[in-house]
Amino acid sequence: MSTTTAALAVEDLHVTIGRGARVARIVRGVSWSVQPGQTLGVVGESGSGKSMSVLAATGLAPATARVEGRAFLDGTDLLGLGPGELRRTRGRGLGFVFQDPMTSLNPLLTVERQITEGIEEHLGATRRAARTRALELLEMVGIPDAARRLEAYPHQMSGGMRQRVMIAIALACEPTMLVADEPTTALDVTTQAQILDIVRELQERIGMGVVWISHDLGVVGGLADEVVVMYGGQVLESAGVQTLHDAPAHPYTRGLLGARPRLGRLREELVAIPGAPPDPRALPGGCVFYERCPIKAERCAHEVPPLAEVAPGHLARTFCTEER
């Protein structure tokens, strides 16, 4: 994973909110990269820092957050740019899709205006050219009767249709990277299946890099090439998607896989992970997962395991790779 050729590469990213004794360490030294045409899945539970790491890397952290580290989009460090330059670079090179399309879309603007705005601003297209492009985009994301839909407002569309509009907006400037933060979580499963299908197909056609943030390893499994598992602000494991399924190395990843009920595989008990994720204002001294870990090796109580290679291309932050 080389930084120079990556579509997006994050290096040693830290995010804190507040100061002094009550400082919340939301992201603690996260690094990953996405090659052009590849998909990275960032998986974690609420409070793991998965969304914040990606938002901070793209300059979208809340104003109260302190962000340190570097984030290269196509070789340019986004975190070293001034506000105007950041806006231009991001507008041209990054597309975003968030969980709730209703709050991401402007309720007062037609679908057409929301798509053409970016095209005119960042690509310098005329109104007419932008409209033609908007129509193309809506057809590309599988919206039937696209010409009529251009005139519609968000409230006139279903959740699935709105999320397609979001994807159309995100792709309008042919970005280097698509950032998708739980984009199917609020949707029904049959709609989710449609959206996943569209993204898979578009990526093959356009060849952009994708970061797909999700709490659901299952959703990421069908899309991602590489997966990063986050917990307590750190990467606990990263590997190719098949490796992560076949041979998860970290007790937390194994716990996540065991906790989910799976269709057609009945068990008397689910293997629950006891307790709850740690408070980012009161993180433990040793391994961040120690409290909930089924192994609880002694040294983990006071020593933070390094993120080390357990196999080529497979990293895990644990001392206990042998004990399965």
Partner: protein, 339 residues
């Protein structure tokens, strides 16, 4: 879990027949319009068992839970709990029914009073139904309930914001158990929790069922969670029954094209399998419940629909305990690829 130890008869604990719930949706000229939220739904829940009610948004699954607990008024049909008509009960009988049917909601943040201590929250049903005479008895019962759901006794003095999401949902369950109900309606009770915590709550619910002989109506959009929790399953779409059966039959041999599409929409665990398997993708969108399609309401999105589906929705009995409301079950069963 067998219902044999039940004190009364063989009759199901809960019996729903031809239940419809409609909401007014304004007028068009002189014609009143209605949202057909639930139409002609019927099912039984046996004592000590779990009925899973599965469907997507707009399926009417939550409206059914709300109708059982009196949160919305049913338009027609009957609901019997242990022989007592739930929909027509008034006064003392209605109060007693509210004690016997408890509910747990999706979001424990929203369903717990932030200004009330956990102890007071759990004690409230005891106070409302005047169940235990002395303060000491009620305090003892609260401690017992906390222990039952795996929370320490000191939690009684805490407030909701001091607890994690999983702990809050345990409090909701303790409150639901307080007045010793027969039936607990669980409406997406695990949906807003993290995966690791979801498993804790599902394990807790199943343990409580074993230990206390509880009966659950488990309402969820999550087919895998429903399979894990339920003895019997009802699949709904746009307010109607699509398929109903014992868990094993329904999951091993789904016969309704909608059930098949729902199952097909769930990603496979193994990425290699997920990338190569055949999926059933539904086209189009959910029709308006104000103006639902004639005949089978799923036909506008069904990959197997034929003209006759606009007129007929026969119940097809695939087994003693397995019914699909569909004209095309033969085609659906013939075409189904094994998962």
């Amino acid at each position: 879990m067998t219902p044999d130890d039940a004190s009364t008869t063989d009759r199901p604990l809960l019996s729903v027949r031809d239940l419809s719930v409609r909401f007014p949706a304004g007028r068009e000229g002189r014609v009143r319009r209605w949202v057909h939220a639930v139409e002609g739904v019927g099912f039984d829940v046996e004592r000590g068992r779990t009925l899973g009610l599965v469907g997507e948004s707009g399926s009417g699954k939550s409206t059914i839970g709300n109708a059982l607990t009196g949160l919305v008024r049913a338009t027609s049909g009957t609901v019997h709990l242990d022989g007592t008509d739930v929909l027509t009960a008034r006064g003392r009988a209605a109060r007693e029914l509210r004690r016997r049917i408890a509910m747990v909601f999706q979001d424990p943040y929203a369903s717990l009073d932030p200004r009330r201590s956990i102890g007071a929250t759990i004690r409230e049903p005891l106070d409302v139904h005047r169940l235990l005479a002395s303060r000491a008895q009620r305090a003892a019962r609260v401690a017992e309930l906390l222990d039952l759901v795996g929370l320490p006794a000191q939690a009684a003095q805490r407030y909701p914001h001091e607890l994690s999401g999983g702990q809050r949902q345990r409090v909701s369950i303790a409150r639901a158990l307080a007045a010793d109900p027969d039936l607990i309606v669980l409406d997406e009770a695990t949906a807003s929790l993290d995966v690791s915590v979801q498993a804790q709550i599902m394990n807790l619910l199943r343990r409580l069922q074993r230990e206390l002989g509880l009966t659950y109506l488990f309402i969820s959009h999550d087919l895998a969670a429903v399979e894990h929790m339920s003895h019997r399953v009802v699949v709904m779409y746009l307010g109607r029954l699509m398929e109903q059966g014992e868990r094993s039959g329904l999951y091993e041999r789904p016969a309704h094209p909608y059930t098949q599409a729902l199952m097909s929409a769930i990603p496979a665990d193994d990425p290699a399998v997920e990338r190569t398997r055949e999926r059933i993708l539904l086209s189009g969108e959910l029709p308006s419940p104000v103006d639902p399609p004639s005949g089978c309401v799923f036909r506008t999105r069904c990959p197997l629909a034929i003209d006759a589906c606009a007129d007929h929705v026969p119940p097809v009995h695939l087994d003693v305990d397995h019914t699909a409301w569909c004209l095309r079950t033969d085609a659906a069963l013939a075409g189904r690829a094994p998962r």
